[in-house]
């Protein structure tokens, strides 16, 4: 049922797209080159070469003294603690908002059929709740966790708690969005089957809905936890606890051999967390 005009329009678009894209790409490239002050020749300049060399030479040998490693133990653990608590808060924020931000949960679908069929007001109310939840989630995840962290440092003070809140809010937005996508993908037939046995809404939710989505939920949440370990390791740069604070101190003092040690610790931590999370996922 393709109308001829639509067809020709598509062909015109298909023809124009590569040219238009190349043109835009070139403009963006030239403009970005200028704006980002890209200057590869900088690396051939003597002064830059010395500072590059100073950095690389300064990293070796890494500082493996018991003193420094002992000093690093607490921030390293703090980083993991921030990520765990941050992810927990993210779940607490993301789960309810993700649920409300699901069309089949708040607006239409089996849970609302009985109410919304005859009443447009009720449907409008549902749609309002749905849009609000979506809006909040997109606000939470569009602002980077670094900005959240700095704002929380200002609001609740220095320390790991700001990091927890920052990860909780930013990751809450991401989790909520993905949770609602998982929710939308629920198989409606099994819900209908449960409904036909006379189950009420709560029963449909707990016996039909939740079991379908739980494995995906857990697996995605674990993935986000892995990411949050990486994030919380650098949030300390703005004073939100963890290893980042030490990274900033070492960089400021030009103690590059400490940086290499911290990188080693970070590598071990991230690898351990990835391993644990993969093991847990395999158990599911």
């Amino acid at each position: 049922m393709k109308s001829p005009t639509l067809h020709s329009y598509n062909r015109a678009e298909k023809f124009a797209f590569p040219h238009l894209f190349t043109l835009l790409f070139l403009i963006a490239f030239i403009d970005s080159w200028r704006r980002a002050e890209v200057s590869p020749l900088l690396f051939f300049d003597a002064e830059r070469r010395t500072s590059l060399w100073k950095f690389i030479a300064g990293m070796f040998p890494p500082d493996l003294s018991a003193d420094f490693l002992g000093l690093m133990f607490r921030p390293a653990m703090e980083t993991i603690q921030i990520s765990v608590m941050g992810t927990l808060i993210a779940i607490i924020i993301g789960f309810p908002l993700g649920m409300l931000g699901t069309r089949t949960f708040s607006v239409s679908g089996i849970l609302n059929e009985a109410d919304t069929l005859g009443s447009p007001m009720r449907r409008l109310g549902g749609y309002f709740v749905y849009s609000c939840a979506r809006g909040i989630l997109s606000l939470f995840r569009s602002i980077p966790e670094f900005v959240w962290a700095f704002m929380f440092v200002r609001a609740v003070g220095l320390g790991p708690f700001s990091g927890v809140l920052a990860i909780g809010v930013a990751y809450g937005g991401m989790l909520g969005k993905v949770y609602s996508e998982i929710f939308e993908g629920v198989n409606e037939r099994s819900l209908e089957a449960i409904q036909s046995t006379g189950a009420n809404r709560l029963q449909i939710f707990f016996y039909g809905w939740l079991p379908q989505v739980l494995p995906n939920f857990i697996s995605y949440t674990l993935y986000r936890w892995e990411c949050s370990v990486r994030a919380s390791a650098v949030l300390g740069l703005v004073g939100a606890g963890g290893l980042g604070q030490q990274i900033e101190i070492s960089m400021r003092m030009f103690n590059f051999h400490e940086i290499l040690t911290i990188l080693g610790i970070l590598f071990i931590m991230v690898a351990t967390v990835d391993y644990v999370s993969a093991k847990v996922r395999a158990l599911l």
């Binding site: 200028r34 590059l52 653990m77 608590m85 670094f146 704002m151 650098v234």
Partner: protein, 294 residues
């Protein structure tokens, strides 16, 4: 052995089910206990003060901060700074992602097992141990380099490059390019390992050499996926580029850092609105382009 398979199955199931259930329960209790311990340990370590947060003063403090944000400052010079910062952020993410794609593309062919030392391409010469060992050297070098680039977080790369090339957006470009290069290298590598061997085999049958196989059999297969992954990382990078300024690497982050430090909350809200718009537009653009590519 004259039992039919279905009969054996029926005999086995109750025993198996029992065993599995016992193991499952144990595993889930273990997981639960471990999880609770992890939460308690983390709760104590991260100095959470929820009571303070939800107390009257805590809530009042946060509410005061939020009310301070309004109204956003739309005066001409703030808007000019915001627009300039947004363009700079876009430029950093664009150049950084481009650089990352080049790094990843240059390294990934060395870092994928099936191209460099085993598999279809080397069927004919697999027996010679020493040449195989020789080919493994670039493999491990490339793989190690990609891993290293990926492990160091963007913000730390930014700190390092600010030290080397000085303050400004170029340090941000390098930081994004190097870190994302490692990430894309891993993603590209996964695409390469799933490459369909049939076109390669038929090229081989025509007598094509390895370079020809690479350019006519492998690259055309993987290129759309490469582009799609690059676009996806660009989406991520625009968010990162917006905060690289916190350590002096240009973009909106620099303006935000100043606004938060000097308690210029109204300006802060303006910049936040610009980040929101920038990120949303980038998401739509990237989704649109990805649809066109695949």
């Amino acid at each position: 052995m004259n039992e039919s398979p279905s009969e054996t199955k029926i005999k086995v199931i109750p025993w198996l089910a029992h065993e599995e259930r016992g193991r499952d329960a144990l595993v889930s209790y273990g997981l639960l206990v471990g999880l609770m311990a992890l939460f308690i340990w983390s709760y104590r370590g991260s100095e959470i003060r929820l009571t303070e947060l939800f107390s009257r003063e805590g809530a009042a403090q946060i509410l005061a901060y939020i009310t301070d944000l309004f109204p956003p400052d739309f005066s001409a010079n703030v808007l000019r700074e915001a627009v300039r910062g947004s363009f700079e952020t876009f430029a950093i993410s664009f150049m950084g992602t481009l650089m990352a794609a080049m790094i990843a593309f240059a390294l990934v062919f060395f870092a994928s097992r099936n191209l460099i030392y085993s598999g279809l391409l080397y069927e004919m010469e697999a027996k010679q141990g020493w040449s195989r060992a020789l080919r493994m050297i670039p493999y491990f070098l490339a793989k190690g380099l990609l891993n290293f680039l990926r492990t160091v977080p963007e913000m730390l790369w930014a700190l390092i490059f600010v030290f080397i090339v000085g303050l400004g957006p170029f340090a941000g470009v390098l930081a994004l390019g190097v870190h994302t290069g490692g990430v894309l290298g891993k993603l590209f590598g996964e695409v390469l390992e799933d490459v369909d061997p049939q076109p390669i085999e038929s090229l081989q049958a025509t007598g094509a050499n390895k370079l020809q196989i690479l350019f006519y059999g492998i690259v055309p297969q993987v290129l759309p996926q490469f582009i799609s992954y690059t676009l996806y990382r660009w989406e991520v990078n625009i968010r990162v580029a917006a905060v690289l300024g916190f350590v002096g690497a240009g973009g909106l982050g620099q303006r935000i850092y100043i606004a938060i430090s000097l308690f210029l909350e109204n300006q802060l809200l303006t910049f936040l609105i610009f980040i929101y718009v920038l990120v949303t537009v980038a998401d739509y653009l990237s989704a649109y382009l990805r649809r066109r590519v695949i």
